[in-house]
Amino acid sequence: MNSIQKNRLKDQLFKVWGIGCTLFGLILLAVFIGDILIDGIMRIDWKFIIDLPSRKPEKAGIYTALMGSIWILLLTTVIAFPVGVAAGVYLEEYGKKNKFSAILEINISNLAGVPSIIYGLLGLEVFVRIMSLGASVLAGSLTLSLLILPIIIVATREAIKAVPKTVKDASFALGASKWQTIWNQVLPASSGGILTGVILALSRAVGETAPLIVVGALAYVPFAPESPMDEFSVLPIQIFNWISRPQHGFIENAAAAIIILLLITFVMNGIAVYFRNKWQKKLK
């Protein structure tokens, strides 16, 4: 066998190995989703979505948890989006590049890897107790905002870095100030990347359970929250609660709620992909 044939063989082997690895993940996911669908799809109807929680599985619905999740999602967006993007813009465009900024940069990436329960403990101490917000939607949103801020900051910086320097130069050379350049050129050109990062971060937030349990989100809330100071539950907690019950009916309910939650994250990721594609086209 000469070296060309050897290289071809290696090429083929790696291809097969790669296909195998890809399939491994995909098949597991497919089995999981299939299983959930079999268990839960029959349970989903409009009533399931608008019903309040109940002790009887066939009467129980996800309304309060779903509304809780939507509240949390909206409030977290309102808090984390402006703060995260502003921090990213500052670090990338204004902050001086020195040792301090390098340490800051490493630690922001590290923060993205801190277990979410730690954020929950922080939220419990700072928001629930010190700021006495109680186990409210606001406290939960603030905690989740902390959790996803590093992701948003990193995504913002990456998106801004991808804006060609030549475009910025052109703007400066025409007499634009730094802020005008950021607002008129840098942010529009990087908006797709920023939005992608924000949406992915939010779809992570909507699936978080641990920090919200620590903050004090309830497994059973009889009413949907009506203000940021109300108590709340969210879908993942509702699912967790149902799964830990003995009746088979609740297992079905849990599966159905999982389908709804997956649907939400899929739609959000879909939107993220859409923005990314649009953004890439624009920069070309």
Binding site: K96, K97, T166, A173, L174, G175, A176, S177, Q180, Q185
Partner: protein, 270 residues
Amino acid sequence: METVIEQIPLEKTIDSSLKKKNKIEVKNVKVWYDDFNAIKGIDMNIKPNTVTAFIGPSGCGKSTFLRLFNRMNDYVESFKMEGDIKVNGKNIYKKKVNVEELRKEIGMVFQKPNPFPKSIFDNVAYGLKIQGITDKQLIEERVIDCLKQVALWDEVKDDLKKSAMALSGGQQQRLCIARTLAVQPSIILMDEPTSALDPISTAKVEELIFKLKEKYTIVIVTHNMQQASRISDYTAFFYLGELIEYGKTKTIFTNPEKKQTENYITGRFG
């Protein structure tokens, strides 16, 4: 031909016989990037309504020198500078100088065409919009006028709403020049404006430069000797951060004073 002196001795003011004031006056300018001494003390005066070409091998400091005039080096963190540069008699490196105002007076065209990812119209209108001009009629008139000045109007008049990214490289570069003209500068700096263009687009841009000279003072960095000799009135030869020779283009190319200049323009090094 205009009245210009035949030869300019190095490091002396070019001329007293000309009545026109110097557009740009450079006195003993030195530039460092950290410890690297990129410009080693240059004096130079540039006349209004002329084309001045900067030539020299890569890394000789000519682009750095050009970017001093509109303070584009300010964004380089390791940048340090000494000396005085006066534009229209005003020292542009004083603390109080409004850099944004300065850049409205001194436009710049870059090596690679760099249109904004916006429509053709918005590209040209950008400079006006950031000045806070909202008069739609004024903006439209200015955009059309500038596109006509760069001879792009006939090619794009039906596509003003289309993305500038869809234009050819040569069209993009002329659009970038139009964008610069829209701010109504009196000086235009060009950093190798044709190095990314094909010969036909290059010819169009050169023709344009020749025409723009009537209204603007143009300083152009180029690696193309023929280009420098074709379009410029004055030529400055840089080497290793120093101004080796500066004078009338005709003289530099036919009868250079320094051996180094001769070697470079005849292609023996660089």
